[in-house]
Assembly symmetry: C2
Homo-oligomer: 275 residues x 2
DNA sequence: GCCTGTGAACGGCTTCACAGCG
DNA sequence: CGCTGTGAAGCCGTTCACAGGC
């Protein structure tokens, strides 16, 4: 779920994406097309990461899931996996999985399957996990505490390196080995620790203000847990995780299910969905 | 993000959301989202609540967001709001907003706008918020604690009415006024307290087991915070909120942005995306 | 005149089905 | 013969643009 000025949220979210989740605007072209004829690059640039050539947003979200499943597989010493197996474990159908993987290149072996380690490498590269991303958590209530204590987000590579709040009782103490700073220090601290991702876990009323500060400090990616739609410049990426929204979406499905049972007093069985 | 057997996540994430995302599926927003479980049917059925007539999953996620914004507006005594205003506040364009609202009926006044209270009512009805949903939280680590202490999820209507864990040190003590029960008691407790939504905040290794127990206890809606793809029967709705996935999606965008700057060594300014 | 509601056009994502290769 | 990789078809959601009321 990306929410940017004049655009859309959820997505889903997701699920989205959320999204949650999810699900929003234009795909991501390396561009370099349109404007110029474009046969160029590749050849010239060191084998120019031809990767990242227009991967649909929805596919990106799934790639992250595949990565998770592949890590599990690797932990169990599975060296090779077929599209069918991986798809089942990730909860998608195999055609979609193969299509998704094809966006990042051809790393499978026909008649055999995919090498787990290779896929992990390539998906990681595509998702930009080769660089480390410093994370700042702002707002240390219940949720903020939980996030801070994750101590380096699950799926390593996202070390939390700064904590902020306004509560004088919190400033200066350490949480998970990190000192808590006042949000007035966001510019300085974010600068010196090279923070690239901001996580907002403040009460709703403070979220926009905090967001503005982060943006002013140069943070261009924000994960927002506050139940507020943040207004940001076009070059800032926001993803929103909203528990109330998630619950309401579930609620909708409960209601729909109930309606169905009520109205379908007749024969027809729910043969819905099934890929 | 809806994930069901043989279907897709993110979501939004969401799509997300979720959700999603996306996020979805998903995504978180998270996910991405997406995945419309509602196929054809209806039609024949009497004239039955013609509402719930195939509302796109993505639209459902956004309706929840509109509801949030509308509540804020109501709190500030705004009685009427135009599609343009509401859209701006929700971060979508007005055409999409009007289309979304049209799915639930015609509650606006041409030349004027929408009555805030009426919209709140109708969206709430559509999302099934007229019924109360009892929530059970399983797994009381950092995140679970945070969720339990929310004490009735934000956006009222989702009272947490049961807590479960396996840690003997936790069983029996009270958190936010609720006693912690052992997960062996899930069937009984969920039954007597009429739990309709299960929230899984356990370590990844325990998630599937806990999920199976909830499902066996009759819970048909699950919000999963564990970084695992749950396998469930077709009639169970799962939404996944995965912090690692959200971070990785953000990471992808950071990387893409960096690539752009690197390859666009020339003139062309980033005029991308735009609402 | 203004703003809502909506059919139709558009575009992106998913699904299909098979060609291609090991 | 099996499984990947992918053009093409189909579907679904978004955007457009204007008809319809107030």
């Amino acid at each position: 779920m990306v929410a940017r000025r004049g655009d859309d949220p959820a997505g889903d979210s997701t699920g989205d994406g959320v999204v949650h989740p999810s699900m929003d605007d234009a795909p991501y072209a390396l561009d370099g097309d349109l404007t110029n004829g474009a046969p160029l690059l590749d050849a010239v640039v060191p084998a120019a990461r031809e990767r990242a050539r227009a991967i649909p947003e929805a596919a990106v979200a799934r790639l992250a899931v595949y990565l998770q499943v592949l890590s599990e597989a690797a932990a169990q010493d599975t060296a090779v996996i077929s599209s069918e197996e991986l798809a089942a474990a990730a909860g998608v159908n195999s055609a979609k999985l193969r299509k998704d993987l094809s966006y990042i290149g051809s790393y499978g072996t026909r008649g055999v399957g995919y090498d787990v380690e290779t896929l992990i490498q390539e998906i990681g590269r595509t998702l930009g996990l080769t660089r480390k991303h410093s994370v700042a958590v702002v707002g240390l209530g219940n949720l903020g505490h939980a996030l801070a204590n994750y101590g380096g987000f699950p799926g390593r590579g996202f070390p939390v390196s700064a904590l902020f709040d306004v509560d004088p009782d919190l400033i200066g103490i350490k949480l998970g080995g990190l000192p808590v700073d006042h949000i007035d220090d966001i510019p300085e601290v974010c600068g010196t620790r090279d923070v690239t991702v901001g996580v907002i876990a403040t009460p709703p009323g403070a979220a926009q203000e905090v967001c503005d500060r982060l943006v002013r400090a140069g943070v261009r990616c924000i994960l927002n847990f506050a139940p507020v739609v943040l207004q940001v410049p076009d070059d800032v990426e926001v993803r929103k995780v909203d528990l109330a929204v998630e619950m309401q979406i579930l609620s909708f499905h409960v209601a729909r299910r109930a309606d169905r049972l009520a109205t379908d007093g007749d024969s027809r069985v729910d043969q819905a969905v099934g890929q």
